[in-house]
Structures are given as C-alpha cells and as structure tokens.
Amino acid sequence: MADLIASDALLTEEQNQTLRLLLNMIIPPDAERGMPGAAELDFMGYVFEFANDRIEHIKRELDSLNKSSRRQYTVTFPQLDDNDREALVKRLYSTRRQFARNIEVQIMFCYYQDDKVLKALGKEARPPFPKGNEVLRGDLSLLDPVRQRPKLYRE
C-alpha cells in the first residue's frame, strides 16, 4: 500500500474531511457484523497506488459536494449536522446520475479487496495464486436426461 504521507497530501483538509464523512455514509461501520466503515481504510493510499488517473475526478467530486452544500446551506459539507448531511446526499444521489461516481466505484474496489474487510467477511486475505481455491467437481449424473437425447447436430 502507498505510504500515508503521500496519500494524505493528495487532498486539502476540507476535501479530506468531506471524503471521510462521505465514505462512512456509503459504507458505514456495522458492529454487529464486525464490518469496518469505509472511512477506516486508507482510501486515498489505495487510489494513489491503483487508480492514479481517478485522483482529479475524486477531488472534483468532493469540491462539487461542498459547492452544493454551500449553495443549499451556506456552509461546507463537514460543517453540516448529521441530518442535513444525510438529506443533502440523499437529494444529490437521487437527482444526479453521476453523483460521486468515481468515489463510489473506487471505494467498492478498495473496500472489498482490503484485508480487514475480507477477514470480517470470513475470507482469507490473500491473492488467488499460489494457493488457489476449492471448487466442487459437480454432480455429473445431472446430465443423464441430456445423455438420453438423440444427437442434436446436423451432419
């Protein structure tokens, strides 16, 4: 994973705070299931390493969210209370097709490939190779009705 100093410096303080709040609104922590919130992950470190070309898009999406917040509430997104934040995100999500699209896509990739998350899901945090996976050979007697059919191809 990229070093934190580099990845933290990618965003302004306002963008950073906005991002953390938004990430936990997309994937909040769930104590019962033992699932971390998305803000607990080093999201920008991930983006820096694996989706570098998305950084500018992500910044624009954060700025746009703050702009909407200022326009509607005269303060930035982090300055809103929880209810207003919720209401704003809900409105933007349902009215703008592309709202936070890059953040959404990248956090899904980041979250569901993260060690902590995989462990919480009961999966091993490892690459597919070299250990591989067990897959059921499958019950080939299910083919019996197919075997009984006459030939299906034309000569």
């Binding site: 609104m25 896509v105 034309r154």
Partner: protein, 534 residues
C-alpha cells in the same frame, strides 16, 4: 556472407502460429517466427496480488487502445459497433483468452447448402477431426465425452469442476428439457506434460499465473523451440515483399529499437489474426498488387465477423461461490444452435454459462444498479448478491457481409509509423433478432434455475474477441483469398492460417478450430512439398 534465408517465416506467435510451427518442425526446415510482442512473465499476472480485480483493468485490459503497451498497435473503432480484444505477445490472444474450447460443428461448414445463406467451406468437419484431436493433446484440453450436440470426441483430460453454480444451472436447464454439457476447456484439470493442474484461481482473462490455462506460450512454444523453431520477439513486420513473379521473397520488420530489417524467406505464413493479417496485406501493395498483397479478389479485409454477444446475468437465491473456478468456462447449452425455420432468424447461438462476477465487481455493479444501497443496508444487501451471480453469454453466429471490414486508417499509426487498422462493423438484422431470442431464452434459463433477479445486456460492445473472415478460404480465386489448404490464390508461397480464413464462423469460440485449421494447413504444406508452388 551467404544471405540469411528462412525456409519458412511465420508472422505472429499466437494460437495458429504455435500449432503450425509445431507441425512444420518435423520437416527440419529452418523456421523463423517473428512476433511483435514479448514473452510473458506469469509472476507478474494480477492473480499474484490481492488487488487482482483492479490490477487487471489497464495492463491486462483486453483492448489494445486501453492497454497501450509498447508492443500494441492502436485500432480505430469509431465506426464499429464492436471493439477489438486481442493481446500482442508470445501467445497472442491466448494470453487473455478464457480457453473455452468448443468446436465448430459439421453444419457450420455447410451453411449455404443447409440454410441457403453465406457460403460453404471448401473443407468439412471430418477433414479437421484428426487435427482437432491432435491439437487437444498438444494444448491439454479438459472435457467430457458423449455430448449429443457434437460428434463424438474424447478430450484427453477430465472436465474442469462445474461447481455449485454449474449444478444449479444444470438443474434449471433440465427443468426446461434443454441441452447442456460441461464445456471443453483448454485448461488442464490434472497435471499434464510437466504443467501443474488448474487451481481455480479465477481470473483466466488476465493471464494464468499457474500455467494451467493452455495459452500457447506454455502449451506449444517451449516444445517448438526445443524442436528447433527460432522465435524472435519484438520484431514488428511492416510489409511482405514480392518479386515480379508474384512470389513472396521475405518481409521488412522493425526491431525493438525501431531499426528496420529485411528477412528473406522461401515461404511466408501469416498468423497475425483476423485484424492483423488483413492490415499487413493491405499495407504491402506493390506494382502487381496495387490494392494490397494477395488481394486480386478484393476480399482482403472484407467479411469481418465477430460473434455478436449479449449477456444475461442472474442472481440465484443460494450461496454458490460462483466467482471461483476458471472465469470463462463452466457449462454450455446448445439447444438453439442449429437453424429452426420456425424462428425469425437463420442459424443459431450458444448459451455459454461462465462464472459469476468476483466480490469487488459485485459491489460495483450492485451499487450502480441500485441493488446494493449506500448506508446502513449496504452490508446486508451485499451478502444477498456476492457469490450468487451467474453470467451467461449469448454467442451468436455472425454471417459474412462485405460491408464489415478492416481497412487501413489514413492517419492513425503505431509507434513504427505502420498504418493502424480501421474497423467498420454493424450488427445485421439477423444478428439482432437472434440476440433478442437468446436474451429471452437466457432469461428463461436463469428463472428456471431460481434466479431472483435477472439482467440482460444486448449488443455488448466490448466483445470483439473472435476475429474472423477477412481473408477467407475457397476454391474460386474470384471469391476467396486463400485456397482450400490456406495458400494464397495470388501468391503461391504465401499462406494464411489464422481466423481470417474462416468462411463462416459458427456460434462458438473459434480457437480450437483456428488451431485445427493451422495444423491442417501445415500438414497440407508437408504433403504438397514436391509441388507446393504449382
């Protein structure tokens, strides 16, 4: 110093080239293969990393226009409803292919006589049968004998696991009384010829780190090299040269540093695939061939066929771990393969049931579709979808049409200044109707298997995996580019062995047939050595 003349020069080191080189090696002739790409390093493949789902998106993307490796050439696809997928390197497209390995069927070679459309091939299934079998042994193919939808054949290795997902779909298809069978796969289900068996890594489409997928860099080339075939990488051929007697004399190529070289040869064999081969022929005009080499028929670059593809994705209400196992192969239904006059289209399609989407991709598509919401319900909804997705490709037969073409782009070039190919392609009305039928039947199959949600995707653009028809074979020089054993009608020491020579394309992935054809052409060269150029 004596001039360096190869007996046989093969251009490209992909699926067809590897098979032909293997066969021709026993002539003990001097065989040189020029390949524009590199050898692959399996330890760099994405499945060596936990982040494989994201690492495969650029460097191992199927589109050369996204991948943009130094060894790739750009392709103008603006005028095409389908975009090209390929890989340029030792192994060619097999580096990224799914290794789904069904053969064309007897009727596929006789489309005109049976259904009154397109043209018959000048050869038939029986001619290719021994070459299919030889290639299965060379590649290492897994499958189950006894499928009533194809003439009897016995793959050398037992089928790859179909998993809970294959069982669930099989039960659904049984309810409908439809055909299905475990797919033939060029993936070794047991250790074979020094290669370790498939470990069910999943992402075959970004290279197999285990080497169990039979890409030809592992299945053929090491053997070919031991047999004496010389394979030179980073050699990009720009032109094939001919003399005044219409005989090929060799090729011009650029090395890694952009230095141009001449390689002379007695016989030139083209194996650059259905886009690369017409590109190179069109870029080799001469006084005798002003419209491109071997193009007196005017058919070089015409009749481009893909397989028009749609997808059906179903989510089943049971945990299936459907993302595990070789990504692109599981089971195949060919219930709707042969022509049925009661339908509003001619010819038919396969339903290729592949594995489900992997865990992070499920989250991405689920959130975008609104199935997996933001907020408190996210975790619960994710569990409902992960491991339960089933993907099915509706793979239709395309029919050859003169309007679907590969030409040279007047402006776009590769890094050596060689004109890029330009693709012009649209779906025919027949294909559109066939796709519609397939999506409906695919949906029925998903529902029969118990899907609680089904999505269909029509005329999917990023599916130009199968490149065929652009230098077709035939007995009539007016109506074909190569004869019935792959030799150019116009240039008697020039052969084509890749998917370009397909007359029609059936409704199955083409590589097993491409390789069987390559072995057959190589064998024909050997049998006709005494009078090869008559």
């Amino acid at each position: 110093m004596a001039e360096d003349i190869a007996d046989i020069l093969i251009i490209g080191a992909g699926a067809s080239s590897a098979a032909a080189a293997w066969s021709l090696a026993d002539t003990r002739m001097r065989i040189i293969c020029l390949e524009q790409g590199d050898w692959m390093n399996p330890s760099e493949y994405p499945s060596n990393s936990k982040q494989w789902e994201v690492l495969r998106q650029v460097d191992y993307n199927q589109s050369p226009n996204i991948r943009k490796r130094e060894t790739d050439y750009p392709i103008n696809e603006e005028d095409s409803a389908v975009s090209i997928a390929n890989f340029n390197g030792v192994g060619g497209g097999t580096i990224l292919y799914s290794a789904h390995f069904p053969r064309l069927k007897p009727s596929d070679f006789r489309v005109k006589s049976m259904d009154g459309v397109a043209d018959d091939w000048p050869i038939d299934y029986k001619t290719l049968d021994p070459y299919f079998a030889q290639n299965d042994r060379n590649m290492g193919v897994s499958g189950l004998a006894g499928d009533p939808a194809i003439p009897w054949h016995e793959p050398p290795l037992p089928p790859i696991p179909i998993g809970r997902m294959g069982e669930a779909m099989g039960r659904g298809l049984n309810k409908l009384g439809w055909h299905w069978w475990p797919s033939d796969a060029a993936i070794i289900s047991e250790d074979y010829e020094g290669r370790g068996k498939c470990l069910n890594l999943g992402p075959c489409n970004s290279g197999c780190a285990q080497g169990a997928k039979s890409s030809v860099d592992v299945a053929y080339w090491p053997v070919n090299q031991r047999l004496g075939v010389e394979l030179r990488t980073r050699c990009r051929v720009s032109q094939i040269l001919v003399d005044d007697n219409d005989m090929a004399t060799g090729v011009l190529y650029f090395d890694e540093n952009g230095v141009e070289h001449l390689q002379r040869a007695e016989i030139v064999i083209m194996a650059c695939n259905g886009v690369g081969t017409p590109r190179l022929l069109l870029n080799s005009p001469s006084a005798g061939f002003p419209d491109g080499l071997a193009n007196r028929s005017g058919l070089v670059g015409k009749n481009l066929m893909f397989h028009p593809i749609g997808f059906v994705e179903g989510y089943l209400d049971q945990p299936l771990d459907s993302h595990l196992g070789p990504q692109g192969t599981c089971i195949l239904s060919q219930e709707f393969y042969e022509t049925d006059p009661a339908r509003d289209f001619v010819r038919g399609y396969s339903l290729q049931i592949v594995r489900g989407q992997p865990p992070a991709s499920i989250a991405v598509s689920g959130t975008q579709r609104g199935d997996i919401p933001w907020g408190a319900r996210h975790h619960e909804a994710y569990q409902k979808y992960v491991g339960r997705s089933v993907m099915m490709a509706v793979m239709c037969e395309d029919l050859p049409e003169l309007c679907n073409t590969v030409t040279l782009d007047p402006e776009l070039t590769d890094s050596n200044g060689i004109p890029a190919p330009k693709i012009t392609y649209r779906f025919s009305e027949n294909s559109k109707r066939m796709l519609q039928h397939g999506l409906q039947k695919g949906t029925e199959a998903m529902e029969a298997a118990g899907a609680f949600k089904v999505y269909t995707m029509n005329q999917v653009r990023d599916t130009g995996w199968h490149l065929m028809g652009t230098a077709r074979m035939g007995t009539d020089p007016e109506n074909s580019v190569v004869n019935e054993w792959g030799r150019s009608h116009d240039v008697k020491n020039l052969f084509i062995i890749d998917g370009s020579i397909f007359v029609t394309c059936g409704a199955v992935n083409p590589t097993t047939t491409i390789q069987a054809l390559a072995l057959y052409v190589a064998d024909s060269i050997k049998k006709n050595l005494a009078n090869l150029f008559d």
